[in-house]
């Protein structure tokens, strides 16, 4: 028990670089899994930034690399087989990937925190929730066990768990799904993180509970001014809480913009398909049309635009414009109108047509 270095109050890794821009800036991040059956290119050069108080929603079919990119930011990838093959993750102007192990650890929790989809499996079954929340204070601030429990009760109150003082010693399995997710949220918010990553935080919950948990997250974000990265399938939620959206496909961001822009006038055929395939609160009764075909195998991503085998607008050969052959030329993520980017050779036709 000698790692008192973790308990010093000023942690250099957490001090903002005064010249810095956004709180979190991901630059050209690449993550691959080097498995026995070959290399899986899970994240292929994504870039985004999140500012104080801002909410960035990340959308995309399952398997598109949303969780893996979040885990890369958190430093909790399974490596091996995962390898960060390139790029940078700047937190308050400093590249996390260039920090040593101990500095990275000091950022997890007080700097960037994360909540997971399934709170039942994400919480350790053999420790009380109070203990698990309190661990944050003990590990990062050297708080005594007793004091940490007191903090845990306050946090449980703050995330509106009824009778917090009585329930602090209960175990995760003794809570309902919604209450468990609140415990996760309390744990993540314990040290006032500057960025919170929520990976499908409501997917495992009942519809009514989903709304309550999202309301809670929104309120907490307003109170703390933290940046929120919200990974979700729920377009209704995105509509309500997100400022900007990033749509992912095959480990790339294929469209970004404000929620209004992207939802009302998608600039990428994949986004159109996504809108039509996910139930939305507004469009009740409308037919759901799944995107035809299978998501790509990330060990063998199609040439050109990775979406071309499934794209109703794909053009190749004589039909395509020069250097804009969907089967041969990878469309870069480019500005299509003010404040929006899309990775499609023919975005303008979608926007204008």
């Amino acid at each position: 028990m000698t790692s008192s270095s973790g308990y010093i109050s000023s942690t250099p890794a957490l001090e903002p670089n005064p010249t810095a821009g956004p709180v979190l800036e991901v630059e050209d991040l690449h993550v691959e899994f080097r498995t026995r059956n070959g290399v899986v290119n899970a994240v292929n050069g994504i870039s985004y930034s999140v500012d104080q108080g801002e909410t960035l929603a990340i959308l995309g079919e399952s398997g598109s690399g949303k969780s893996v990119s979040a885990q890369a930011i958190m430093g909790i990838l399974d490596s091996p087989p995962a390898v960060i093959a390139g790029g940078g993750i700047n937190f308050q102007g400093r590249d996390i990937l260039k920090m040593n192990e101990e500095e990275q650890r000091q950022i997890r929790g007080p700097g960037i925190a994360m909540i997971f989809q399934d709170a039942l499996s994400a919480l350790n079954p053999v420790y009380s929730v109070g203990f698990q929340i309190g661990e944050m204070f003990r590990a990062h601030r050297g708080t005594s066990r007793k004091e940490a429990k007191q903090h845990a009760i306050e946090l449980m109150d703050r995330v509106r768990i009824p009778a917090a003082a009585r329930r602090v010693n209960d175990y995760p399995h003794q809570f309902s799904g919604g209450m468990r997710q609140r415990v996760m949220i309390a744990m993540a918010l314990a040290l006032d993180p500057r960025i919170l990553i929520a990976d499908e935080p409501t997917t495992a919950l009942d519809v009514t509970v989903q709304a309550q948990v999202m309301d809670l997250l929104k309120d907490l974000q307003r109170d703390t001014g933290m940046g929120l990265i919200l990974i979700t399938h729920d377009l209704g939620v995105v509509n309500e809480v997100a400022d900007r959206v990033a749509v992912m496909y095959a480990g790339r961001i294929v469209e970004t913009g404000t929620v209004d822009d992207v939802f009302t006038r998608p600039a990428m055929p994949y986004t159109v398909g996504l809108m039509n395939s996910i139930p939305q609160v507004e469009a009740k009764g409308g037919r759901l049309q799944p995107i035809i075909g299978q998501p790509p195998n990330l060990a063998r991503i199609p040439s050109g635009c990775p979406f071309h085998p499934r794209c109703p607008m794909a053009r190749t050969g004589a039909a395509a414009a020069p250097d804009r052959d969907c089967v041969a030329d990878l469309p870069p993520l480019r500005v299509v109108t003010v404040g929006r980017e899309a990775a499609c050779h023919y975005s303008e036709e979608l926007l204008n047509g």
Partner: protein, 307 residues
């Protein structure tokens, strides 16, 4: 919990009665005449033989013999061997020896098995993991009798590192027999720990622990090992009862005067009362340690609740 334990303890009574009857019947069914065997080569006068038979109820039918045995049991009389030595005395004489042997065995099983399993599990498919895999496979596949004679020959006779037999050198004489007795369970504990640790390393809550910024040591000790050890600790507990069975062979080979050796001799001499008394005691221990394990399980894993 208290009610649960009481109910379980009450349930052991019919089990013990049933077990003792089965053992009784098996000894009864053994071929040969125990009184003859007792006399060996010396001639035995028919009058003495008849008197012995009457004293030990050997002429009665099985059920009558058993009823008389149970009757004596109510005032804690477990009967005597053919030399009129009370079985209770034999047990109290020899149980401490077996207890020491079992303690040494459990120590080896827990320490070596756990350490090997933890390191193999943390770096699964590494060099050490493969070493553990091969050596445990080897140990598990060799019968304990062969292992006992082999180690006695190599480490006792040839190398002279340990006493060949007996318990004249205090705790030191228990090391080799203890290791032999533990070997199978030790290999199993290593395997079980390895699998459990490897599985837990990938658990979601371990990922959460890392995301919380806990120091690496805390992630491993508190959030991986603590959870991984639940099945292992419960196995070791339940195994204590099973080790007593293995002690029969080990004590016979290493000539250790414990209850295992006593049973071994009693079976050969067809000493019914001794066999029944000791084996029933073994059955009791087996049940008792299983109960301890169930209680322990509830303590270690808050999701388990009885009642």
């Amino acid at each position: 919990m208290g009610r649960y334990v009481a109910r379980r303890l009450l349930l052991t009574i019919p089990v013990l009665i049933g077990a003792s009857f089965l053992i009784f019947a098996m000894v009864y069914a053994l071929p040969g005449d125990p009184i003859r065997a007792l006399a060996g080569d010396r001639p035995l006068s028919p009058a003495v033989a008849a008197q012995l038979r009457a004293q030990f109820n050997l002429g009665d039918p099985l059920l009558v013999q058993y009823a008389k045995y149970l009757g004596n049991l109510t005032h804690l009389d477990l009967g005597t061997d053919f030399h009129n030595r009370p079985v209770l005395e034999i047990i109290s004489d020899r149980l401490p020896v077996t207890a020491k042997l079992t303690l040494v065995a459990v120590f080896f099983e827990a320490v070596i098995g756990l350490v090997a399993g933890v390191f193999a599990g943390i770096r699964r498919n590494g060099y050490f993991d493969n070493l553990v895999l091969v050596s445990t496979t080897l140990i598990i596949s060799i019968p304990i009798l062969v292992l006992a004679f082999l180690s006695q020959y190599i480490f006792g006779l040839k190398l002279g590192w340990f006493p060949i037999a007996g318990i004249t050198e205090g705790w030191y004489s228990y090391l080799l027999p203890g290791l032999v007795l533990a070997s199978g369970s030790l290999a199993y504990v290593a395997r079980l720990t390895r699998t459990s640790v490897a599985e837990n390393m990938r658990a979601d809550y371990v990922r959460t622990a890392r995301a919380k910024g806990l120091p690496h040591r805390t992630v491993i000790m508190r959030h991986t090992l603590r959870n991984s050890l639940i099945p292992v600790v419960t196995f070791i507990g339940a195994d204590i009862g099973a080790l007593l069975g293995g002690a029969i062979v080990t004590e016979a080979v290493f000539n250790i005067p414990g209850i295992g050796r006593a049973v071994f001799d009693a079976v050969r001499g067809q000493e019914g009362a001794v066999v029944v008394g000791i084996v029933t005691l073994m059955v009791f221990f087996f049940i008792f340690f299983n109960l301890v394990v169930d209680v322990l399980y509830a303590v270690l894993d808050p999701r388990i609740r009885y009642d």
